[in-house]
């Protein structure tokens, strides 16, 4: 513990050491001389001199303490004996960069061979089998199988082919690309003439018989 004493000119530091009960006699002898010296120094000498004095006095105090406590001087162990090492020693010559693949302690590996029964139950589980489709029905027009929510593939292929042929004809009529007229279109087959509502429409003639599934609505 330290006590700061302030005077007008310089601060004075007085250090009080707490000693044990039995050591009080040794210290009390030098105590009055310490105070006298401090008072003398703060009047006459500089701060540097004051610090040097304090350092020396601390060293002396430390020496007296060690004498009182019973240490010889150097703080080496009194007795050293060979015995088994209790604490874990760090490995001196380990690999400079041990890769994780060398270690066999933290890679997952199967413990046992999977039996054929377990394999079969996993491979044949319901979620791994192909699902049965119940939404297949025959097309009413052609009889080919079709899914309930889709168009019949065969019937649509017929429609698509005919649409392609019509478009080829339209392209031939237009001549060049990007030449669409601002008119409706009507498609007529062999032997058909434009009707009442086809007056201001462009006519696309298809040189074949009208297919049965293409009825004029």
């Amino acid at each position: 513990p330290c006590v700061w004493l302030r005077s007008r000119s310089t601060p004075v530091i007085v250090l009080l050491y707490r000693f044990s009960q039995c050591d009080r006699e040794g210290v009390d002898a030098c105590y009055p001389s310490l105070v006298v010296k401090l008072l003398y120094l703060c009047q006459k000498m500089s701060l540097l001199g004051l610090f040097n004095f304090l350092r020396r006095s601390l060293q002396r105090a430390e020496a007296t303490l060690t004498d009182i406590a019973g240490f010889d001087g150097n703080f080496a162990p009194a007795l050293a004996v060979h015995g088994p090492c209790v604490l874990p020693q760090p490995v001196q010559d380990g690999n400079p960069a041990p890769s994780f693949l060398d270690s066999i302690f933290w890679m997952a590996a199967p413990k046992k061979r999977r039996t054929i029964e377990i394999n079969r139950t996993r491979r044949r589980a319901p979620e791994k089998l192909i699902k049965v489709k119940t939404n297949i029905e025959p097309c009413l027009e052609c009889g080919h199988p079709k899914q309930k929510h889709t168009l019949c593939g065969y019937c649509y292929a017929k429609v698509r082919r005919e649409t392609g042929e019509i478009r080829k004809q339209i392209f031939a009529m237009e001549g060049k690309p990007l030449n669409t007229p601002a008119m409706e279109t009507v498609i007529l087959y062999d032997g058909e003439t434009p009707g009442e509502g086809d007056k201001d429409k462009r006519v696309v003639e298809r040189p074949r018989k009208r297919p049965s599934w293409f009825i004029l609505s």
């Binding site: 009413l140 027009e141 079709k146 899914q147 929510h149 889709t150 168009l151 593939g153 019937c155 649509y156 429609v159 698509r160 005919e162 649409t163 019509i166 478009r167 990007l178 030449n179 669409t180 007229p181 601002a182 008119m183 409706e184 279109t185 009507v186 498609i187 696309v204 297919p211 599934w213 293409f214 009825i215 609505s217």
Partner: protein, 165 residues
């Protein structure tokens, strides 16, 4: 109290991502829509057809305003990359759907594409197009078994009722 990170979790987000980004998606849809206006029936993947259907119907709504409307012309100019389709849109498609209010397009699913990707395909068309219909009209076929049996039953009933009195 929100316990999830908004950016990383996409629960409930319904908007589709297509192409390289939002701009790429709009460009792609614009090309498909131009093709639809030109050919009036196109075949694409189901997701693209679903997205284009919305834009196709909105385009018709804008076209119905007439070609003198500034906003309608701007929209049509943006969405149709081939400019020879602008007169077709305003003079052919808009009058065709004068009396309809909502459903101008028809989308039907097709069997999956034959390629390795087995993509889900759909055909998208404007109603009233000149091409052969996708859904052939239902005709009662006289030659089916049930119809032949019913025809025989009706003839027998007529014979019995004729012979009785």
């Amino acid at each position: 109290m929100r316990l999830t990170l908004r950016a990383l979790i996409s629960h409930g987000r319904v908007a589709r991502k297509m192409g390289l980004g939002p701009e790429s998606r709009i460009n792609m849809l614009r090309n498909i829509l131009t093709g639809l206006v030109r050919h009036e029936r196109i075949e694409t993947t189901w997701a693209r057809a679903d997205e284009v259907q919305f834009y196709a119907e909105k385009l018709i709504d804008y076209a119905k305003r007439g070609d003198t409307d500034e906003k309608a012309m701007q929209m049509a100019n943006f969405w149709l990359t081939e400019k020879d389709l602008l007169p077709k849109l305003f003079k052919v498609l808009a009058p065709r759907f004068e009396n309809q209010s909502k459903a101008y397009t028809y989308m039907a699913r097709l069997p999956n594409r034959e390629n390795l990707d087995r993509a889900a395909m759909a055909v998208l068309e404007y109603k009233g197009n000149p091409f052969p219909p996708l859904f052939p009209a239902k005709r009662e076929n006289e030659l089916t078994l049930i119809n032949q049996l019913l025809k025989g039953y009706r003839e027998e009933r007529a014979q019995l009722s004729g012979s009785k009195p």
